[in-house]
Symmetry: C2
């Protein structure tokens, strides 16, 4: 199969869809949809989120030194998309969407009650890459809806039903069927 060169673009796919919870300096809760995200360290457990300086979340995270990562179920796709369209500078996204901001007891940020998996982070460090600044949050706790946990006590993908985003085409997709067990299915190749 021939490969076509598409140039220097962020055409990785899919990217998970996270909604980042912060407080602004006036104490108003904000929820910002983000796809430039990822786990970046196991110990300390840490996640990375990138924002441009223009985003309301940028100043919020710097001021409060904290944020939450909220994993929405696909049933909230309209609310999630909305939180990526409008800015918290101009609108109260929680009252507009009907989502509930819960003040974290561990970090100075709100999490989203309706989403099945929420991660509370304190800002570990941040650094400018270019248009985006990357904020690295140390995971302080992960909270998961009890009905989204499997038998072994871990979050189950088909119960959380997270949303995937495809940069370029700009389309959202659901997660799909079970394929196999990591560190197991490939053993036969040895």
């Amino acid at each position: 199969m021939n490969k076509k060169s598409l140039g220097a673009k962020t055409l990785v796919c899919p990217t998970p869809v996270w909604v980042i919870g912060t407080y602004d300096q006036a104490g108003k809760a904000n929820a910002a949809t983000a796809a430039w995200v990822g786990v970046c360290c196991s110990n300390p457990p840490a996640v990375a989120v990138s924002f441009t300086k223009a985003r309301h979340s940028y100043g919020n995270i710097l001021a409060r030194k904290a944020f939450t990562v909220n994993l929405p179920s696909e049933e909230y796709i309209k609310e999630v998309d909305y939180c990526g369209i409008v800015s918290g500078k101009n609108e109260d996204k929680f009252s507009a969407t009907g989502l509930t901001a819960v003040q974290s007891e561990l970090v100075d940020a709100p999490y989203i009650k309706e989403f099945p998996l929420v991660i509370e982070c304190r800002l570990l460090k941040h650094h400018e890459i270019g248009q985006h600044t990357q904020f690295i949050g140390e995971i302080v706790d992960v909270k998961v809806d009890e009905n989204a946990l499997g038998e072994k006590g871990y979050p189950e993908l088909n119960k959380i039903r997270p949303i995937l985003y495809t940069p370029g085409s700009g389309l959202y997709f659901a997660c799909g069927s079970y394929l196999g067990e990591a560190y197991t299915i490939g053993r036969k190749k040895k």
Copy 2:
């Protein structure tokens, strides 16, 4: 729904599965499966990949100042899992899996011919977070199999069929069905 506290763990899910292509100092191609990854900047277009110092890729990236990000199709799940189990220090993963390393013409790293989407990166910077060091690669080019492109010329998720990983349970999943268009489906909430 009550939320259960799971503690300070990297239980974000799903994470995309990428296979990182590098050359070691002897010139041997390596392919390392990674889940601690993500897009981190739009301009310059950049992706972040984290490795511990023990990983063969760690030294390879530092020595060659380059890596590739390869997005496998689910049909290669056994090869992908294998590339996360064994170390390139001890084995030639390309001969073991039958995958083909293609020398990039743009950066000092190999990409994987059989995978539908490959991204060539030069190392922009790296920094230690804790157990993991994060390598930030500037995207120099994205190459996609022609039959994985949609009408508008962007990679299509249901043609690439990437693999998802769930930290904690350690299970792989496929991508699923179409949910909606970003920056559109949420407009009604306004």
